[in-house]
């Protein structure tokens, strides 16, 4: 049954995430602990500065005691494997701790708060771009498959090859150069104008700021997608029932988008989502070019400020999203193609 399949897949995804978090905390154990120790020292120093009614030796004793207490609390005195486990569990439960430098717009230093502030912005940008990419990609792929080897097919395949290795962020830089520096049509980056306008104008302003990054993603995104879709659809178009549909005089567009689309849907969805997931991981850099304050930009900032907790939290969240994407992919696939649901009780 579908729900057992779904449950199994979700559980496996969660297990994979936990496993990866364990590997990450093992890999970055040393630097994580160094940061944590520094943070503890800072905290004790600040706290002891407030103790005005104590003598120097009393403060010293209090300090040592407090340090011990905090080190115990963060389990820095335990054996290494336990420390790594403890950190992995913390990460899996979204307990990322405090950042060292970076603050959220409200001034919070909780890594989770910083991440949660950035996440919706990234989502907004990428979902908008993905909708456009999927739309154009699927349409173009279908049209290409309709006349393989035709002028449209060949010219678009050629463009696909030309832009195959073009970095998204470089195109972003070029578009900034062209549209911002030369034509002065769009803002160079950011979420909104400062001060941001109210009401309907706020939405317009946001769209105006989103135009360039979305354009960058879309311009590069749909070519590869349409190429893959063409290959899948081409396979389906060879089937006998397509020929019979054509012979019955069903309009070509109905054959293409009705008959072919349904059969081609499972691999089509997988491939397109997979390529989008790949582009999500890759396009992370490009937020920095547009100073779009999402998860990708957070990497830039965290690397520059050397803020390890934020870097780790960002990595955990990105991995989580990636993992969730893979799970959703399989769920959709199983839903579209009933044969996939192996292991469930039929």
């Amino acid at each position: 049954m579908y729900k057992w399949y779904a449950l199994k897949r979700i559980l496996r995804g969660m297990f994979m995430f936990a496993l990866l978090m364990f590997v990450f905390s093992l890999l970055f154990n040393q630097v994580n602990e160094r940061t944590q120790r520094t943070q503890i020292f800072e905290q004790v120093k600040q706290e002891s500065a407030r103790l005005t009614n104590m003598r120097a030796d009393q403060i010293e004793a209090w300090r040592n005691q407090r340090l011990d207490q905090l080190i115990k609390q963060y389990r820095l005195d335990r054996p290494m494997l336990e420390r790594v486990m403890y950190r992995a569990i913390n990460t899996v439960t979204f307990n990322f701790g405090q950042s060292t430098v970076i603050k959220s717009s409200k001034g919070e230093q909780q890594v989770l708060a910083i991440l949660m502030e950035a996440l919706p912005r990234t989502m907004l940008l990428f979902t908008t771009a993905i909708v456009f990419q999927l739309g154009i990609g699927i349409f173009l792929g279908m049209k290409k498959a309709q006349k393989p080897g035709g002028s449209l097919d060949r010219s678009t395949s050629f463009v696909t090859m030309i832009i195959y290795g073009m970095p998204t962020w470089w195109l972003g830089m070029m578009l900034i150069l062209f549209f911002v520096y030369m034509l002065k049509l769009f803002p160079s980056g950011g979420l909104n104008s400062v001060p941001s306008p109210q009401g309907f104008m706020f939405i317009l302003d946001r769209i105006w700021h989103m135009a360039l990054p979305v354009m960058t993603l879309v311009i590069l995104g749909f070519w590869g997608l349409s190429f893959v879709i063409r290959n899948i659809v081409l396979g389906v178009l060879q089937e006998d029932y397509i020929m019979s549909a054509r012979a019955r005089g069903i309009p070509e567009n109905s054959v293409l988008f009705g008959h072919t689309m349904r059969t081609a849907a499972p691999p089509l969805v997988t491939i397109s989502l997979l390529s989008l997931l790949a582009s999500f991981s890759g396009a992370i850099i490009f937020e920095g070019i547009f100073s779009w304050p999402g998860l990708g930009n957070l990497y830039w900032v965290a690397v520059q400020q050397n803020d390890i907790p934020v870097l780790m939290g960002d990595l955990a969240l990105t991995t989580g999203i990636y993992q969730a994407g893979l799970v959703i992919l399989d769920l959709i696939y199983g839903f579209l193609d009933p044969r996939i649901k192996v292991g469930g009780k039929a």
Partner: protein, 476 residues
């Protein structure tokens, strides 16, 4: 499989490949790139760019943020280009100067510079190496007969010391005082000298308003370094390698950046790293992936399950973010970066190869080999791998662009190996100096364009091979 078989299969492949026009173009570009890498010094305007990319003194004679030379073709007002004169004409003259009113015999090193532009050079730089004691005057003779005293070297106790005289800084006051004598009182009162470069005055006509509106004075200029003959010939004193650098307003085939670096040199020097990173990573990781798939399919059973599990772990890692964090923390060298790229990108071909290997495994000749007593390794390497490896060549080519972009992305974040030059690092410098918003297009376009061209080259190759090796995808 014997050598003869391989040769035959290659010939067959080549016959098909010849018909793919885009594949041939890709091969051509790749061949040219390899040539450039092999004969790198011939293509480098600055020969010692490798290792000197981050040295400030190596680039100090270049103009700052100058556009490429060929922009002159499209400009109404032609800008002076950067030229270097290594050979001075040496002569002896008898001259009277302020320092030697009685007249003295001078050894003169002179350089002729034919100025035929509308916008003056940025700087005139005289360099030499000298030992012992030296006093030398530097001046420039203009086409209108005027001589402008620029400045002088007075040094003692040197031992092969490099000397450098930059008119823009050291000659400023002398040029201004020359102008003060020639330009009218009115012209000087009407203008200020803060934004004026000395070279702008040297290369413009003498007129009362020359501080404000400058008309270029075209013709033959002579820059002279005059050393009193007795000093030049005194034992222990030595002057060598006198040269003149005219630092132009446009410079090099691809211009310079704000750190005065010649971008053409950087791009050419970055090519070998792009090729190296791309090729090593993709070839090694695809080989690993193919072997992994074959072994996993052939062994079957528990090993297959375990290997698939490991594969699944690697597939669920978002590569770039992990690489970013790793490089930010460990600050790796380029070899470690290549190694970690391999670690994360071998997973690509595994699934397809595994399913293909599962089919081959059931073929009768494998069974026959088994019956003849062939071991696992023999069957895998002798019977299965040679059949499946050719299919991975297309994968290798198609994996190259991604790898190059990954490295460039890391470098763009400033996480690259600082001991080498890569295109990503050039773009990082451009991005951090705000080149996009200041319109320094010649700093941004070429590095990215070359990354894209490399990607295109390997895409041409990969798609062409893919078409031949996987005939199912041929256009029907």
């Amino acid at each position: 499989m014997s050598l003869k078989d391989t040769a035959y299969r290659f010939k067959e492949f080549w016959n098909d490949f010849k018909r793919e026009r885009s594949g041939l173009v890709g091969l051509g570009i790749l061949g040219f790139c390899v040539l450039v890498v092999l004969f790198e010094p011939a293509f480098l305007p600055f020969k010692d760019v490798n290792g000197n990319w981050r040295s400030i003194s190596y680039w100090e004679d270049n103009p700052r943020a100058a556009p490429p030379v060929w922009t002159n073709l499209f400009a109404k007002q032609k800008s002076a280009t950067t030229v270097q004169y290594d050979e001075a004409t040496v002569s002896e003259e008898f001259v009277t100067t302020e320092r030697y009113p009685g007249g003295v015999k001078m050894k003169v090193y002179s350089f002729g510079y034919d100025y035929r532009y509308d916008l003056s050079p940025v700087d005139l730089i005289v360099r030499m190496t000298a030992s012992g004691n030296l006093s030398a005057d530097i001046d420039v003779v203009r086409p209108d007969g005027q001589t402008i005293y620029l400045g002088s070297f007075i040094e003692s106790g040197m031992k092969d010391s490099p000397l450098r005289f930059a008119t823009d800084t050291a000659g400023r006051n002398n040029v201004l005082s020359f102008i003060r004598e020639r330009a009218g009182e009115f012209g000087i009162n009407m203008s200020n000298t803060t934004g004026v470069r000395p070279t702008q005055l040297i290369f413009s006509q003498l007129e009362p308003t020359m501080l404000r509106s400058r008309t270029p004075l075209k013709g033959e200029y002579t820059v002279r370094v005059k050393v009193p003959a007795e000093i030049a010939s005194a034992p222990g004193n030595e002057i060598a390698d006198v040269m003149l650098v005219v630092s132009g307003r446009v410079s090099g085939l691809l211009g310079t950046d704000t750190a005065k670096r010649d971008l053409m040199s950087g791009i050419v020097a970055g090519l070998k790293w792009a090729l190296l990173i791309g090729l090593i990573t993709s070839v090694v990781s695809v080989l690993i992936g193919v072997m992994y798939g074959i072994i996993s399919a052939y062994l079957g059973g528990f090993s297959d399950t375990a290997m698939s599990f490991v594969w699944e772990i690697f597939v669920s890692i978002p590569v770039l973010p992990v690489l970013i964090v790793m490089s930010a923390i460990f600050k790796p060298s380029i070899w470690i970066i290549i190694a970690s790229l391999i670690v994360f990108s071998w997973v690509g071909p595994v699934k397809t190869v595994r399913s293909m290997a599962l089919q081959i495994k059931e073929e009768t000749y494998i069974e026959a080999a088994k019956a003849l007593g062939a071991g696992k390794a023999r069957i895998i390497f002798k019977h299965m791998a040679p059949l499946l490896l050719p299919y991975s060549f297309a994968n290798m080519a198609l994996a190259v662009p991604g790898t190059i972009v990954f490295e460039a992305s890391l470098s763009l974040l400033g996480l690259g190996d600082p001991s080498i030059i890569t295109w990503g690092q050039i773009l990082h410098d451009a991005q951090s100096s705000g080149a996009t918003l200041n319109g320094l297009w010649w700093w941004i376009v070429p590095p990215g364009l070359f990354i894209a061209i490399m990607g295109m080259t390997f895409a041409f190759l990969g798609f062409a091979m893919d078409k031949i090796l996987h005939p199912k995808l041929r256009t029907r």
